[in-house]
Symmetry: C2
Subunit: 288 residues, 2 copies
């Protein structure tokens, strides 16, 4: 029989998982076991995973709902089982800064461990199904399954690496390169989830993309239009098609405006876009 110690934290009662307390065991998808959780996180399940009887509750959030808020008492980690979210940071003046766009398999809430209060806010961008991992349970797993300890450190380490890459990108790349990489990264994540990495639609606004990349929404919009003009992507509203992913991935800067005007005005209208000079392959100038 499943371990009841990991059952519904009181403060989540209002999120109204569609099951009654007494019938949880009959609801197939509302609880996951340790093996399923490990699979989602892409970490090897420990040897004793199947004997482990702790079960992890699912909670559904509707688009727009907050999973946790800044400053709120920390006690739970969340794993995205389905849906799309954003995490945001709010500075001392109330300005919102997007930090990440979590999706299936991502772990949320780690930033709350340090001060025992969440340092960021997570918002559902679509209906979401989240798995709750009480922090107590999380911490205990390292002791009951020694092999898991490394995996847990690894997941946190991955987050740190990801943020380091973000920092590099923010301070080194041009607007075009930021947007281009954002698109290819999204594509790769969709691929990993089994969807098309070429053709997908954005779940977030231009505003949110801009905030994430350190750009204004107008610049994001203009850049998407430019990449469209250049034939690297096609955009229509939130529907994206990556036409030349490798060019996007290595794009650094569009040529200096002088050159670009010449090329663009003279050539763009005349030639097939795929024949344009490959600006992205030139030697990289030091940016700092």
């Amino acid at each position: 029989m499943p371990n009841l110690s990991t059952l519904t934290p009181a403060h989540h009662a209002n999120h109204a998982a569609p099951s009654a307390d007494s019938s949880w065991r009959h609801q197939g998808s509302l609880w996951s076991n340790l093996r399923q959780v490990c699979e989602l996180l892409a970490i090897p399940a420990p040897a004793g995973a199947d004997e482990d009887d702790s079960m992890f509750q699912h909670v559904r959030f509707k688009s727009g709902q907050r999973i946790h808020r800044i400053g709120q008492n920390f006690d739970t980690l969340y794993i995205v089982n389905s849906g799309f979210l954003k995490t945001i940071h709010i500075d001392e003046y109330g300005n919102e800064q997007v930090l990440s766009f979590p999706m299936k398999g991502d772990l949320l809430g780690i930033d709350g461990i340090h001060k025992q209060h969440y340092a960021s806010e997570a918002v559902a961008l679509s209906d979401c199904d989240m798995i709750l991992i009480p922090y107590k349970t999380f911490a205990a797993l390292g002791r009951t399954h020694a092999e898991l300890e490394h995996a847990m450190f690894s997941v946190m380490s991955r987050e740190i690496v990801r943020e380091q890459a973000m920092i590099s990108m923010l301070s080194a790349l041009s607007a075009e390169a930021k947007v281009a990489r954002f698109l290819t990264n999204l594509g790769e994540r969709f691929s990993a989830m089994g969807y098309s990495g070429r053709s997908f639609n954005l779940r977030m606004t231009r505003q949110e993309i801009g905030s994430y990349l350190g750009l204004t929404l107008e610049t994001v919009s203009r850049t998407l239009s430019a990449l469209n003009e250049l034939g690297m992507i096609s955009v229509e509203q939130r529907e994206i098609n990556l036409i030349d992913p490798s060019a996007l991935k290595t794009l650094r800067r569009l040529p200096p405006a002088k050159a670009r005007i010449k090329v663009a005005e003279k050539v763009t209208a005349l030639v097939n876009k795929n024949l344009l000079p490959q600006w992205n392959n030139e030697a990289a100038p030091a940016l700092n």
Copy 2:
């Protein structure tokens, strides 16, 4: 008797800790116990800390030496016992990006856990004394001392929070604000170490500051000069004096150039700097 299992990793032999293998027990400062390590990291020492007989080796690095390199096999974490360093990321084109300036009490190498290879490079900016924590030992501590497990997660969580703050700052602040915050942050860290938080000298070049903040070295230099002109700091080469830390901490943008020219030319030379209008206290405009 100390646990010999944590002794010198073979690949560090070339760093020439000044002790011979046979005389380690006589070298007072070359080894630390668990309690000392916890103290350095500012985490509570576990109950059994004094009975724990594992000892942690110190290694000295001279200014300019690399502690670890990108791609190198990961097996060791490092704690700064004394000295100053930078950690850098090198992008696919060889451009260097400064990620942090670790000093006493900071933990290095966490980013290596994920892929078992360091994702960043650490370079000593001064002579440094580092404590080696073999990752195996680190991971085992969570099991032998249950109270430590939370502390270890907490340290990693803190790193994540710190990087989130960095991301926010990079994409939201002006050059002046970045430099101003950089200085006050440095000051606070020096204070925490028992040094003066008002008066200190920079251990890094303008180039490195610029890389860290996403600015060019010229912009850093000009900004320091401007803050000097405004009377908020005094700079002479790497010697810094914070004259008005609270103004620095809340500074967002200098006034638009038109206004600034008026104010600066007419007022700066005439009035005591402390009486200048408090540009920083105005309502914060949305930046994204």
